[in-house]
């Protein structure tokens, strides 16, 4: 092995020499390394944290928004409608929903009826609450968790059942301490069976208040369609594409389909939720990019400060080892050999610092995860490999740059003067 890779073997021997020096001065080595350790630790932990925050923010935004969805809203007749087609305005109908459901690339469609405030009477009291008509599966797609009982089912929607899922934040007002599931409430005078309760969605980091989701009452949209908006009509259809790449096509095709079905009437409008999500994600990216700049600056300054520490310790090391340098030269070491000796020491120290720092960064990440758990959140922060690579590359550069002058100084010593200790 050594015979086959002489250069590698020589390099390794230099590292061994350097490690011998490090072991000979453990405290000094630790102090020298501290700057580089902190720099590398901050680089690794902060890039990992930034990456994790970004991913969590993405997940949050994706869980509340619909990165693959758009909504077709019924718009009703325009007040300034001039064209005959607009006056005819068939409006959004259940048949539109079914047509959209069967388009290629569509993963799911959900009927929606955003509803209005209605008077809700329950055993513990009466109050005004927003009643929203939704399709089966809608609460699940939105990731509004069912707290008790069950969600709305396809059969409820099909049969236009008078069942309701009540937001948990309304629960005490309407039912006091009693279990709402199985009780009856009246909405605008009509009796509904409460089949479940729904809690507000939870987010990993996004500072979004979604409590309103748990201040509503969800009923089959078909109920509102039939009894309020008129037979066969609905307010909105949430269309979700199979994949993000297909989204654009699905959006275009869906728009064309509805327009065609309505004979060109402008009686609907499209809310592009995917675009909204992209906008939010872009904003999150922007914030994180700004943070990255600050972070790299901090890590860079720390590493450079670490490099200055390394520099002064190497100068001390050279001064201490003047005699040794002289002896080595007397035995036949040329300037290059002495230079390599000290550069290897510098690089070894810097590299060790980076390795310890990377370990420290991993420790900081574990601590962050631990703290997040104490606050009831479970951050899962993966170590960001580019951050690790950057820490090592940066440390090696620091080792080379700050080791260069001390190494050169050592190499320039005159053997006789060095041995005499002048």
């Amino acid at each position: 092995m050594a015979e086959r890779f002489p250069r590698l073997a020589a390099g390794w021997e230099l590292v061994e020499d350097a490690l011998r020096e490090v072991r000979a001065h453990p405290l000094r080595s630790v102090l020298t390394l501290s700057g580089i350790v902190f720099g590398a630790a901050s680089l690794v932990s902060m890039t990992s944290l930034a990456r994790a925050m970004k991913e969590m923010a993405y997940r949050d935004l994706e869980s509340i928004g619909f990165p693959r969805s758009y909504v077709v809203w019924d718009r009703g007749p325009r007040s300034d409608a001039q064209r005959a087609v607009d006056l005819r305005h068939p409006g959004l109908r259940l048949a539109d929903l079914e047509a959209l459901r069967h388009m290629p690339g569509v993963s799911s469609v959900h009927g929606r009826n955003p509803g209005t405030e209605m008077v809700v009477s329950a055993p513990a009291g009466q109050r005004l609450a927003r009643v929203e008509g939704v399709d089966a599966g809608y609460l699940e797609v939105r990731q509004f968790p069912i707290a008790a009982g069950r969600s709305l089912r396809a059969l409820d929607v099909m049969r236009v059942s008078r069942v309701a899922v009540v937001g948990t934040l309304l629960q005490s007002d309407l039912f006091g301490a009693a279990d709402p599931v199985g009780r009856t409430i009246t909405i605008d005078g009509v009796r509904f069976l409460v089949v479940g309760t729904v809690a507000p969605p939870s987010f990993e980091i996004a500072p979004i208040d979604f409590d309103f989701a748990a201040r509503r009452i969800y009923v089959p949209y078909t109920y509102l369609t039939r009894y309020r908006d008129g037979q066969g009509r609905l307010s909105g259809v949430l269309v979700t594409a199979d994949t993000a790449t297909e989204f654009g096509r699905v959006l275009q095709a869906g728009t064309m389909l509805v327009r065609q079905r309505h004979g060109g009437a402008e009686d609907f409008e499209i809310e592009n939720e995917a675009a909204d999500v992209q906008e939010d994600l872009a904003m999150a990216d922007g914030i994180l990019a700004g943070w990255n700049v600050v972070m790299y600056a901090i890590a860079g300054v720390t590493l450079v400060v670490g490099g200055i520490g390394l520099f002064s310790v190497l100068l001390i090391s050279v001064r201490e080892r003047v005699r040794e340098i002289g002896i080595r030269k007397a035995l036949g070491a040329d300037d290059g050999a002495i230079r390599r000796l000290f550069l290897a020491e510098s690089l070894t120290l810097a590299f060790l610092g980076a390795v310890v720092g990377i370990g420290g960064g991993a420790g900081l990440i574990l601590i962050t995860e631990f703290i997040s758990r104490q606050f009831g959140r479970s951050f899962a922060i993966a170590i960001h490999p580019p951050g690790v690579a950057l820490a090592i590359v940066f440390a090696v550069i620091v080792g080379l740059v700050f080791g260069w002058y001390p190494a050169r100084r050592a190499a320039k010593l005159d053997p006789i003067e060095a041995i005499a200790g002048v």
Partner: protein, 224 residues
Amino acid sequence: MAALIAARGLTKTYRLGQVDVPALRGVDTTVDAGEFVAIVGPSGSGKSTLMHILGCLDTATAGSYHLDGEDVSRFAGKRLAQVRNRKVGFVFQTFNLMPRLNVEENVALPLKYRGGVPRSERRERARALLERLGLSHRIGHRPDELSGGERQRVAIARALVGSPAILMADEPTGNLDSHAGAEVLATIEELHRDGHTIVMVTHDADVAARAQRTIHIADGRVVA
């Protein structure tokens, strides 16, 4: 046959501030292969200065110096380092062993600077030499665990490990008691009998008497 060492008109002048201090004032000398030569002279006469130049640790201010057929007075830097490594084995009065390396590592060190000698071979050669000098039992020890005589013999082993053309020793017994000094001297004599060329500086007339030939130096000149 050409002399191993052939120096002509070697001059060395140190500059101390504005003052020139002449240490050598034109030294001519030759040493043939296989000779054992002692250099003697009063303190400050320039013995060490001459040895350093002959050992290629230092360069002369003027004059020419041929070592083993090469005009090394024209060499510098890397080439001079290689001459030191291959042609000369230098033994110091103060041993100058590496305190953190053990005996074997100390002896093998010059081969590290030869290039291309694998570690296993360096180790083997160091061990063989230590065995020859009766130091096998000290292989793993550090210099500070050895007696003065042992340290100097380790230093001799280190000087010889690269099979140099000449062994140069500047007062090798100067820091030793008489017993250890005799031991080191016996080693040197034995090396000479084995055919090594040896140049040794000494203060001691008895020591000098053991050499085949004596060069007397006074005030930077060869006087006899």
